[in-house]
């Protein structure tokens, strides 16, 4: 039997015992996990050094080496992340619905764990700890498949977490990591229907697309963000400029950052040059449609491809529109249903934008950068779902649960 099938079955078997544990039992285990990470950090740092050395030898980019690197501070913050998860309410067991039927049947719909979750991610050891914590807290067993560049670190972390779980109510078998670095191990996970209940990809566009295109197991897609900010004719100029700047430059590398600025012609005439100036001062490269290029000297013309690109970088498309409708059509065509914003003092236009734009989060007079589980007050974030089933937008702990109907009778049969 392959490593994937073997470990997934072991984890699935363990999921039944894990699924009925109390919040207190799970929290106690998570705290032990946090403690063990800190007390055994030298082992983690040693394993991580192997990964880093191998990464340098194979020419891993500096930014990837940085994401891979662990030190005392980063391990402390991984442990702190687990402690924060402990402080969150456990959604499992919540009553979602109670139904009394005329025939006397009593039906309760309860929140239950999903069962066994597969997480596929890149060479980021912090995701190993975070995903383990989130899944176990919600009573789910988990099979992790991280990027191979982090394998030594991940194996050491899992070894330590297994030791922590050995002295807890959570069966250590519920936490598994795949060592097979071949891509085929990912493919195998994606098709393990009946064992793995859900796959969640965490990473860049190509990783996510591979999962979406090849999985037969249900997937929660945490997708790309081509986010727009639309400055309406009646936008407040200072607010518009501040929100646009924040959406673009506060952290350009993330999915809720703005990629395209849509500006009403009535607003652009007077205010676009000032906004463009601030963007340039912040090292943003601007690419515009023809009308924007006329207003802002020296701006390159955006290509068709540019409108459909998630830069995650200091690059911004700018388009002048003649109406709210033109802005809505552009968003419908190029948006990825992630986060979209209108800045305006016109309440009717705001209402239309909020109602008609089809996205996980739609904003009126606030930066799209707020689309985030912590900013929404969820205290955790599994990811930001850009699909419409199960969960949409920032996902807190309830996104890692399913439900189950409990039907209690006194001998009822169907007529």
């Amino acid at each position: 039997m392959s490593e994937v099938v073997d470990k997934a079955r072991i984890a699935k078997d363990a999921s039944y015992a894990l699924g009925v544990l109390s919040a207190a039992q799970k929290n106690e285990a998570l705290l032990k996990m946090a403690d063990h990470l800190v007390t055994r950090q030298t082992e983690i740092i040693a394993a991580n050094a192997e990964d880093l050395e191998r990464g340098r030898q194979t020419g891993l980019r500096t930014s990837l080496l940085d994401r891979l690197a662990l030190d005392e501070d980063r391990i402390a913050s991984m442990a702190e992340g687990l402690r924060q998860i402990v402080d969150l309410p456990d959604p499992v067991g919540e009553t979602l619905q109670e139904i009394e039927r005329p025939n006397g049947l009593r039906i309760q719909q309860l929140r239950v764990p999903i069962g066994l979750i597969g997480i596929i991610y890149e060479a980021r050891p912090n995701v190993t700890v975070d995903a383990a914590g989130l899944c176990l807290k919600t009573g789910n067993a988990v099979v992790l498949r991280g990027g191979s560049a982090a394998l030594s670190s991940n194996l050491q972390i899992i070894k330590i977490l297994h030791d922590a779980l050995a002295a807890s109510a959570i069966p250590a078998d519920a936490l598994q990591i795949i060592e097979d670095a071949n891509r085929s191990s990912v493919d195998e996970m994606l098709k393990l229907n009946g064992v793995i209940d859900t796959i969640i990809p965490r990473g860049g566009a190509s990783l996510i697309q591979n999962v979406v295109q090849n999985a037969t197991v249900p997937v929660i897609e945490t997708g790309a963000g081509i986010c727009h900010t639309y400055l309406d004719a009646e936008a407040d100029p200072v607010m518009a400029s501040d929100i646009a700047l924040n959406a673009k430059v506060q952290r350009p590398s993330v999915c809720n950052a703005m990629e395209t600025l849509l500006v009403h012609e009535g607003f652009a005439a007077e205010h676009l040059t000032a906004i463009a100036k601030r963007m340039k001062e912040d090292n943003v490269e601007l690419r515009g449609d023809r009308r924007a290029c006329t207003l802002v000297p020296g701006m390159a013309e955006a290509s068709e491809q540019d409108w459909a690109t998630e830069y995650n970088d200091y690059v911004l498309n700018v388009k002048i529109v003649s109406s709210l409708d033109e802005a809505l059509l552009h968003i419908r065509r190029y948006g990825t249903m992630h986060s979209e914003c209108i800045v305006t003092d016109n309440q009717a236009n705001a209402r239309r934008f909020l109602a008609e734009v089809d996205a996980a989060a739609v904003y009126h007079n606030a930066s799209t950068r707020f689309t985030d589980g912590f900013e929404f007050g969820y205290g955790a974030e599994i990811g930001i779902s850009t699909q419409k089933l199960h969960a949409r937008g920032p996902m807190g702990l309830p996104a890692l649960t399913s439900s189950k109907y409990i039907v209690e009778g006194t001998g009822q049969i169907r007529q």
Copy 2:
């Protein structure tokens, strides 16, 4: 452009206008649809006669011809189904959550339509009307792909529904049917990510498996039911017998009917022969494990394959178990997470069964035949989900919705 891509894009474009209609506007359109079906029933019956004639020529089985046939009564009941959908509350627009953040952001999570739903089903013209009604009621555009044996009936029905919609607020474009009878048109639908938001298969196991195995679009799986009834040592004999009989024979062809009876050895010794006798009187063929065969003379031995088969017929597996744990293990191994039942007066055993069995619906002292949207009081049923994401168990109208965050600010930017 292919028919599928063309019609799906047209439907998607129409979904935006449909998505913001009021419940009253949608209900008015649905009532028109119902009226038109009845007043133009002769056209439907004529088209249906073509399908039936072709079906007879191609040797369609009698049971399939029966499902395909339409008459005045069946058309009246299709229209009545639409009127019942009108009477149900519209879930769209419901506030699921309101969050006030310390920074003043006001976040609302609202129920919204999914967008464009693809329905893939067999040669049952009533599903054409039912699926159209359920999707449009919830503000979703829909692309239907029914079994080719019903094509003439389906095209005539859609023509009539389009005429009804022409005089309504719902754009007729939101309702599309695929005429291409080649299997490739199904395959195309399954991969139309970004246009079709969700695929729902309605039909038998092979249709559903084709969708699950090949779709890259998110799917709501409405799956098979290998349902068990466990008669515990402390089951009331009369209740146990009545529930087992009902679960098996009241309608054996459906997914919530029982396929395997698990009987505690302490109960079996005294009561199994009487239950077996009633089953045989109702023409149920029994297949047992070795111990059951010893207790019930003339029972054939069940094969490994039998335990894993959804008969949907007058056939029942019977297994004697020595403990609740053995019953739980059997269900874990062979169950399809649909509906599972324990009959017992022992409250501790009942609690364990309800907590530990991983299924959409778990029953204590009632027949599994109640797993049904109407029996749960939902007034509609899109299907019974056997997956764990999005919806699980009988799906009412809310299963056809997604959600969206509306974030209102006063210029907030992220620090």
